[in-house]
Chain length 365, copies 2
């Protein structure tokens, strides 16, 4: 999407320099840094140390990492090594595993001299496929926003609340939860976005607010506590969030706090939608709350907050007493009964076993 | 309550120096500073600039402020001036108005030479009355905790979630929501407290976590997003929060985010109690959500977070892009239907018009 009037993807191939470039997201929103990835090490660092994050973007970066390695050394051993090294950067990332297996299978049967070109072509395609998937999600979500806009008074924006960053920075472009928003803006529908800051890591404040600001979409940052009050008072027309993993029964695992917003939406009869590319549906899980394991992360994410000091330097401040123990579950599961619909690239499915099975009959067997 | 093994109130008269002392709460949890208040100006500063906060504590500080002035100058004009000046420090604080009107009425009919002694005696009594009220709240809440403890496996703590700081730092001693917790600890009932950090001002992280740590009560800090997930997984037995204002129908106005926790408690069939001294009941308001005006505070509270840098200095960091607009409603209203009971100094009342009227027949008109 746009940054200061110029279109960016979160990862791209720069034709002039013939290198892969990314936005080093560690410094957002305070620094907008573009980094060239060339060596195997630079790709590994970028994924491991979260210069790039978000499942689709990690997959794309891994594919480019393999392709870049093939330009340097297209031997079987180099292919093995680069795949193994990249896989270890974030061993639990499903898209990373998928992209690496995919590239390895594609390349290992080919003569060495063809590998570099085919790998790079496939990496480009993986990016384009992600963009197209998110574009379809956006078009499907756009219908929902359009319907709401038609029932608003003239000149009144559609107020959309979102949690965390399921934006273009987490994908290659468009994002998932944000794609309907960008499409609405493109269709000249007035939208206003309530951006949950999303403690503890503040992806909303750091990334979603930056996306909205950079693309020129009306928005306000709020604390995660505020959404319920806004919904009670008619200030939210629609909630759209992303998901890290969707169970086959429509339960949705997303950033911690999503469940609370879904409860408030239900209590105030406000539509609550989850945007997702279908590969994030885990067909093996039939009860999200009982079966999806929730990562418990370092308490320091809770006790410390990172940002920009008055002098422009970046630093963390400790908000609690020395030595305070913190609990830090990173995700929660929103039961499908609280979800109005799942916005996928194929259409909007009910968040039920039947709804998902009907939309994806091939996978749900 | 205890700080490093020594008992403190949040405001007290020091016999040796014959002065009023407070904990300057602006620096907690990073600095524990005790300040002597002597001049009229120092009392005004302490209330206006939030060295002390919390309705009961503000009332007590105002009463002491009048008493201290009477020691310097007990004339009618001095009484007028100190009341007027103190009232302007936080014009919307109900307890402040109450305490000043109370002191003025008590003193204005008295001969000047009696005023200082009577004013000081009354200020002491106001403090003691607050402590006794909170003690009764604690004893009533203790029964609830005891009942839960009896149904837990041996050795398992009662897990209590609280939001914001309705602790002894907001009152003279015991606190309201924390009083049952301190009483349970005193009765050797094992408790573990989940402390919501309470964005945007982080009163949970700064004050409640400090109280729990200082008194030696097992606790963990969590982000405001985490409570729903913990409730889904059986890690919360009970929620107790305070309130700034309770409507006659049992709707409860408290720090922003309380409503979301009440929804999650309801969804998981976990008891959700609100602790309050009966003077915070507003008998004129019969529909809390519709009638209680919600203060919208400065967006900088959302975009900036204060804490301790690695070098020990205190500073704020900006978490969002430059110029991000923020929405900052300071409170929300939890409908009485989500509240299991109101823990008052008289007993536990249902959060309904009938429940409150039955417990306080004199006030409910």
């Amino acid at each position: 999407m746009q940054v200061d009037g110029k279109h960016y993807r979160s990862i791209w191939f720069d034709d002039d320099s013939a290198t892969v470039r990314i936005i080093d997201q560690r410094w957002l929103p305070h620094r907008f840094l573009i980094v060239e990835l060339t060596s195997r090490k630079s790709f590994c660092d970028a994924i491991r140390d979260m210069w790039v994050r978000g499942a689709p973007l990690i997959g794309a970066a891994a594919a480019y990492g393999v392709a870049a390695e093939m330009q340097n050394d297209a031997s079987d051993s180099a292919l093995d090594e680069v795949c193994n090294e990249l896989q270890q950067t974030r061993p639990t990332a499903v898209n990373l595993v998928w992209a690496l297996n995919h590239m390895r299978q594609l390349l290992q049967g080919l003569p060495e001299q063809q590998r570099a070109a085919i790998a790079m072509k496939r990496a480009h395609e993986i990016c384009d496929e992600d963009v197209e998937c998110n574009r379809q999600i956006g078009l499907n979500g756009l219908q929902i926003i359009k319907n709401i806009a038609e029932n608003k008074d003239v000149g009144q924006p559609v107020n959309i609340l979102t949690h965390c960053n399921a934006g273009w920075l987490a994908t290659v472009d468009w994002g998932t939860a944000t794609s309907p928003i960008y499409h609405a803006a493109q269709a000249d529908i007035r939208v206003h976005v309530w951006v949950d800051e999303t403690r503890p890591r503040n992806q909303g404040a750091q990334l979603t607010a930056w996306e909205m600001d950079s693309h020129g979409i009306s928005h306000q940052l709020i604390v995660d506590n505020a959404g319920g009050h806004l919904m009670q008072h008619g200030d939210v027309d629609l909630v759209i969030v992303g998901t890290d993993r969707t169970a086959a029964n429509g339960d949705v695992c997303n950033k911690i706090g999503t469940y609370l917003k879904a409860l408030a939406a239900k209590d105030n009869e406000i539509p609550f939608y989850v945007a997702l590319p279908s590969p994030t549906i885990d067909w093996n899980i039939t009860n999200g709350i009982a079966e999806i394991p929730i990562e418990e992360r370092d308490g320091q994410e809770v006790t410390h907050v990172w940002g920009k000091l008055e002098d422009g330097n970046l630093a963390s401040v400790q908000i609690s007493p020395d030595g305070t123990a913190a609990g830090n579950p990173a995700f929660d599961v929103t039961p499908g009964r609280l979800v109005t619909g799942l916005i996928t690239e194929r259409g909007v499915a009910p968040a039920t076993s039947e709804g998902l099975a009907a939309m994806f009959p091939k996978f749900s067997g």
